[in-house]
């Protein structure tokens, strides 16, 4: 029973991790929090659902098209509402992205109505057994895709020219600007990449969750907690934080009450911050 809960938690944690990785990439480069990250996940769910409805294909086959759509949406949102406020105080960013979240929910509600939608996959009916533990295939796939996506992002940041320029921008914006790095482009890329990660998490959730306009809400809160827990801007921290959050939620849910799960995650956050105010993998506040 405990093993089963831990596995369930790790798998769900994988999805949390992916949303949080998206959030932490945006924060790492731009030093701002995207308060519409949960709604980007929702957009990913709708993109997967709509394409699935139109083509009849399994959402897993639609990963590349949905990621492409989400990347383009991310670029579009950036140039429309984010680019104009680059360099303004972080509070502007909070207000704008919160507003964006409302707009996205309303637009989706107008187009698709608030009805709950479902995506049916054959994978849903298959369970994978590991000794006494049984796991739903969609969850295992979600976890696998998360690992692949995170590794791909890391590889991109470490090994490509654009990735290195993004890291330079993330580390010291002023110096990067002084040396002629195209920091706007790197901001746009980081934002779109973060949105894409949220969208991919959304797609991975479609076989497990109902698709509806407000589905992103709980994910938004939990992914912010995870990012702070892991250390702002740290990808490894976001992954570990996501897995911890998933396990805590599953174990508390199974043994005590699902209602206590969020409280448990916040308790861990408080404990971690008490000992490491910069989060598990945080580098700490930069000296002025």
């Amino acid at each position: 029973m405990l093993a089963q809960s831990i596995f369930n938690g790790l798998v769900m944690g994988g999805v949390y991790a992916l949303i949080a990785v998206g959030l932490t990439i945006i924060f790492g480069v731009m030093k701002v929090i995207n308060f519409a990250q949960g709604e980007c996940l929702m957009l990913g769910m709708y993109a997967a659902w709509a394409l699935h409805r139109a083509t009849g294909l399994s959402p897993y086959i639609l990963i590349v098209p949905v990621m492409t759509v989400m990347f383009l949406i991310g670029q579009f949102i950036f140039s429309l509402v984010i680019n104009p406020i680059v360099g303004r105080p972080p509070t502007d960013f909070v207000v704008v992205t919160m507003g964006l979240a409302f707009v996205l929910v309303s637009v989706i509600q107008l187009i698709f109505s608030p009805t709950y939608q479902t995506v049916v996959t054959t994978a849903k009916n298959i369970t994978i057994r590991l000794g006494s533990v049984s796991l739903g295939t969609p969850r295992v796939i979600a976890c696998g895709v998360m690992i692949a996506a995170v590794l791909a992002v890391r590889l991109f940041l470490k090994k490509t020219d654009v990735g290195r320029a993004m890291r330079a921008t993330a580390e010291n914006l002023e110096v990067a600007q002084m040396l002629g790095v195209n920091t706007r482009r790197n901001f746009a890329l980081a934002f779109a990449l973060g949105v894409t990660m949220a969208g991919l998490s959304g797609l991975l959730l479609t076989p497990i969750y109902y698709v509806f306009p407000n589905v992103g809400m709980p994910f938004k809160t939990i992914s912010m907690v995870i990012v702070v827990l892991g250390g702002l801007g740290s990808i490894g921290g976001a992954v570990l934080g996501g897995l911890i959050a998933g396990v805590v939620e599953a174990v508390l849910g199974a043994y005590i009450s699902p209602d206590l799960a969020p409280a448990g995650i916040f308790l861990i956050l408080i404990l971690v911050l008490a000992f490491r105010p910069e989060g598990m993998f945080g580098k700490g506040a930069r000296k002025a």
Binding site: D161, R164, A165, R167, A168, E171, N172, E174, V175, Q177, M178, L179, G180, V181, N182, T183
Partner: protein, 244 residues
Amino acid sequence: MAAILELKDLCKSFGGVHAVNHVSFKIEKGEILGLIGPNGSGKSTCVNLISGVYKADGGDVLFEGKSVIRTSIAGRSRMGIGRTFQSPKPFTGLTVFDSVYTIAMQTRSYKEASKISGEILEQMGLSQYEKMRCEKLPIEKRKWLDMARVLVTRPRVLLLDEVMAGLNPNEIDESVALVRRVNKSGITVLFIEHVMKAVIKLCSRLVVLNDGRLLTSGDPDTVMNDPKVIAAYLGRGYHHAEND
């Protein structure tokens, strides 16, 4: 000769401190102009105002006759204003080679960028450190990494903020030769330095700041023997400060 850079009545205060107080001077195209003065006299603040890190409270900065006071940091860099930092600011997560290459890459093809990065690192004596992560690079080498990074941006004017602090006499001689080589390649230099030996060897003209004000300017001999300058240095002394 025409001025490539001109400071006009430039002002900047921090709280009650007038770090730069109505300062005006010109940098002529092709020269090495020395900017000296005791600790806290406003030299680094001038560099920060010219490169756009600080917003001036008043006055103007002209680059090739055009005001750049409203131009962004990035814009000034694109125009050809390059600088190093008194306390170096490496990209700690990247390797020495990658941090130069990433900058070179912004305006060049992959091939050209690799080539020029290798060459410049060699000139700076950093070839053996190419694969090292910048955070491990010895402190005294970091200024040269700053220099390598800014040189690949092809600056027209280079603001060097105390690149020789902490070097031994041999290294100072090498550095003097290097700065001269950079200048000969067509880059105008604003040279801030407490190492007077280097200043006298390199600079055709000096500008002296004291307490944020322009004290005097002129050829090195006259300036160094000026009683006002001697008094300013005796009054305040100088040491190699490693802060901004």
